[in-house]
Amino acid sequence: MENNPGDQKVIDLLSKLKNDQSAYPSELLELRRRKYMQKAVQVGFAIGAGAGLKNILKGGAARVTPTAGTWLEAALVIAIVLEVSTAAYFYRHKLGDLLETVLPTPGVQEVIPPPVVTSLLPVTEISVVPTVTGTETPTATPTPSDAIDNNSNSNSNGNNESSNSSSGGNNQAASTPAPNGNNGNHFGQTKQPPKPTKELKDIKVPKNN
């Protein structure tokens, strides 16, 4: 290729171009050099610190056998734990005060057990009693159907009943129908038939069902 005179002339021109003076601007070069040296120092420091640490570890490992090293390590750990626990014992009051100041004081809501669990059981017991006692109050009752609904609700859902009972006792009293002399087949309220005398043993008493 280079035998071609044209190619050789191109190469000669290129070699002349090689000597152009597009030099590194001095201010740019100085700035770049400074940055480079800073980075070199940083890298060298990091590497030097790492190497120093490695040398220390290597030196320690060379003097002490592995078994002794393990024992030394265990003894060191035990000593540290003992020291810390002793210091904690001596300064336990200060530590307690410090913990009290540092840690947030526990809120009242966290200490009191959740009210939902405790309130459910009494409400379900109460929900039965007012309906029974309400029947004895002869206050005005809007419709018997309401009473039935309330009773069915009390059987099915204790929460609804508790909310109703807590909202006001007037609804329960008003929901019971007027007895009109007939209290129904309630335990202890049903009129007992007269006990048969000895003479009337043969008379059959109708069962209430």
Binding site: K9, V10, I11, S15, D20, Y24, R33, V41
Partner: protein
């Protein structure tokens, strides 16, 4: 001052003096090479910074060049230039590359004027007519004086491939310059 392999070994141990010597020795050349490729002094300066930062990181990691530091630095610069040229195309004015001819304080002779015209034509042809590979090979071979083997290492191709690329690049330059200069040579 340490030379060659001794300098490289000292630099691998992050010897400050060796690192400084490497920078002083190669930074201007890398800058010139990068400037020829990207035509932007600021970009060239940034690439020089990246090249030497990578070198430090390689040394810190226990890696880096073992024998030919110069090739390694040019290779790093080459890859950085290629990466940047993929992101953006730089078309700097020609004066950046031929600044020497603008600074002449003397009155040029006829021969010097002709040579200057020819040089500008050559630079224009290099920037516009050659492929990326051809431009890199021509610059590394004839402006940076790398051997075929070194150029192959830097670019990451086979030596024979470099020969072909070089021949085609020179032939293209000759053709373009011949056309522009009226086939005078």
């Amino acid at each position: 001052m340490k030379e060659g392999v001794a300098l490289l070994k000292a630099a691998q141990k992050l010897d400050e003096e060796a690192l400084t010597a490497i920078f002083d020795q190669f930074a201007p050349a890398i800058y010139k090479y990068t400037l020829r490729l990207c035509h932007d002094p600021i970009v060239a300066d940034n690439i020089v910074g990246d090249v030497f930062a990578q070198l430090l990181e390689q040394f810190a990691a226990g890696k880096g060049p073992r024998t030919n530091l110069r090739s390694y630095l040019y290779q790093t610069a080459y890859h950085l230039v290629v990466d940047r040229s993929r992101d953006s195309q730089h078309n700097a004015p020609l004066e950046v590359a031929v600044g020497i001819y603008e600074k002449g304080q003397f009155t040029p002779t006829q021969t010097q004027i002709e040579e200057r015209v020819m040089m500008e034509a050559l630079i224009t042809a290099m920037n516009t007519e050659l492929t990326e590979d051809q431009r890199h090979v021509v610059i590394l071979r004839f402006l940076e004086d790398f051997s075929l083997k070194e150029t192959a290492e830097i670019i990451g191709k086979e030596v024979n491939n470099i020969k072909v690329i070089q021949n085609r690049g020179i032939a293209k330059l000759r053709k373009v310059l011949g056309l522009q200069l009226g086939e005078s040579w």
